[in-house]
């Protein structure tokens, strides 16, 4: 065994052991922090989603998730990968109000992700909330900062689809004002809603026959 003068060349076993111990301790630390923060993180996400759903469906106080699984729409708590979901909103008495449907598509800079409320009975969009976007600050970001634009997605007819027109020229119930200087971003929002709507309209059950709120579904948290 080399000692003293040659202490700089330890055996391979010692190298492997050092790394293994370091890895082990690190693994334990990471599992610890993951387990202890997981409940808070999931609760945060659920709360965020709930708030968004309640915002796009006015008058809603309870929700449940519907998953498109095996070519039918079923109420389910879990969501597998590659599955799409919509959220049914119910008022205090458990009466069905409408769906909150998430959609995404290309904006001016990057993907815009949004959620919109939709009532199949009257074919109306009830509300719209942008969840993620990287539109130009000061121009494109008005799609969620401009209260007039966001507000125009209330009781908006989507039959057959929404049309964005130049500011001040709306005449039909399915037309909205595009934002001056941010035509591309506003049209992107409208396009995403139209596309998501036409994707889902075939899958949703006929108006009036929505599944009732499951008692155990609670408030979805």
């Amino acid at each position: 065994m080399n000692t003293g003068a040659n202490a700089a060349a330890p055996s391979s076993l010692r190298l492997i052991l050092t790394l293994a111990i370091a890895g082990l301790i690190s693994g334990i630390a990471i599992i610890g922090i993951y387990e202890s923060t997981l409940p808070t993180i999931t609760a945060n996400k659920a709360r965020e989603l709930r708030e968004a759903v309640f915002k796009v469906l006015p008058g809603v106080s309870q929700m449940q998730q519907f998953v498109w699984r095996g070519d039918q729409l079923i109420a389910a708590e879990d969501l597998q990968k590659d599955e799409e979901a919509v959220y049914g909103g119910y008022d205090e008495n458990g009466e069905f109000v409408g769906y909150a449907i998430p959609g995404a598509g290309p904006g001016f800079q990057d993907t815009i992700g949004l959620l919109f409320g939709f009532t199949p009975e009257q074919q109306l969009v009830l509300g719209m909330e942008v969840l993620e976007s990287r539109e130009t600050p000061g121009l494109g970001d008005k799609i969620y900062k401009d209260a007039d634009f966001v507000g125009s997605f209330s009781k908006l007819s989507i039959d057959p689809e929404i049309v964005a027109v130049k500011k001040g020229t709306t005449s039909q119930p399915n037309e909205i004002d595009a934002i001056t200087g941010a035509t591309i971003s506003s049209k992107a929002v409208v396009r995403i809603i139209n596309k998501t709507h036409s994707d889902w309209i075939q899958r949703l059950p006929p108006p009036g026959s929505e599944p009732p709120l499951r008692q155990d579904a609670g408030d979805g948290s």
């Binding site: 190298l15 790394l19 370091a22 690190s26 922090i33 993180i41 130009t136 121009l139």
Partner: protein, 214 residues
């Protein structure tokens, strides 16, 4: 004497060897997440936590870690602290975490952190290593904050989300876009170099005068 040692290690990171303005390290988070003061400070705090924690551990174990595997060990230690910071931010301030996005995990790749372990913590006792880490991380935090503050004030007319100039302020949109990061950093570096240049010039003049007088 010992006290002034610690002080020396601390102050060099804040000013003389500032990791950003003098060493020009850690540019990736510096440019990417400084579009508002709050993001910059969150990033700075996360980096602060990782650097001080790693320096403490690396310095404590410096006699047990074999030279051949030291870099791997440093990375394991740093990565653990980064993961802890990542989950903590996600649980406590999800909004800020969303803004910082991929840049929290990327603290692992911040060359300043590994650089301090290799150059300092693995050679010096714990007290000095921690002082050095606090100084360097503090300097980094300071630099991030000053960049974030300038960009938010000009780009949004606000600091920490509080409007400073009233409703009619015309925001400089470019400042919160990526080019604004490069512009602001460039101007600050320019100022630092100009300051250093003037100081050297002044010192040279003083030396000249002394030689002439003596």
């Amino acid at each position: 004497m010992k006290k002034s040692d610690s002080y020396e290690e601390f102050i060099k990171g804040i000013w003389r060897d500032n990791p950003v303005f003098v060493q020009v390290l850690g540019m990736c988070p510096m440019l990417a997440v400084t579009n508002s003061a709050i993001n910059a400070v969150a990033m700075g705090m996360a980096t602060f936590f990782v650097l001080v924690g790693s320096s403490f551990l690396v310095s404590s174990f410096r006699n047990w870690i074999p030279k051949q595997v030291r870099i791997s060990c440093f990375i394991i230690i740093i990565a653990t602290f980064v993961t802890v910071a990542d989950y903590t931010l996600l649980a406590l301030v999800p909004k800020v975490h969303k803004e910082l996005g991929a840049f929290i995990p990327l603290i692992v790749a911040n060359c300043m952190i590994l650089g301090r372990q290799e150059a300092f913590s693995s050679r010096y006792p714990v007290r000095l290593a921690v002082m050095d880490a606090i100084g360097m991380a503090g300097g980094f935090l300071l630099a991030l904050f000053s960049l974030g503050a300038i960009r938010e004030i000009l780009g949004d007319g606000a600091l920490f989300g509080i409007k400073l100039f009233g409703e009619n302020f015309e925001p400089w949109v470019i400042m919160i876009l990526p080019p604004g990061g490069f512009l602001t950093l460039g101007v600050i570096l320019l100022f630092f170099n100009w300051f250093k240049f003037k100081k050297d010039e002044f010192l040279a003049e003083v030396a000249e005068a002394e030689r002439g007088g003596g």
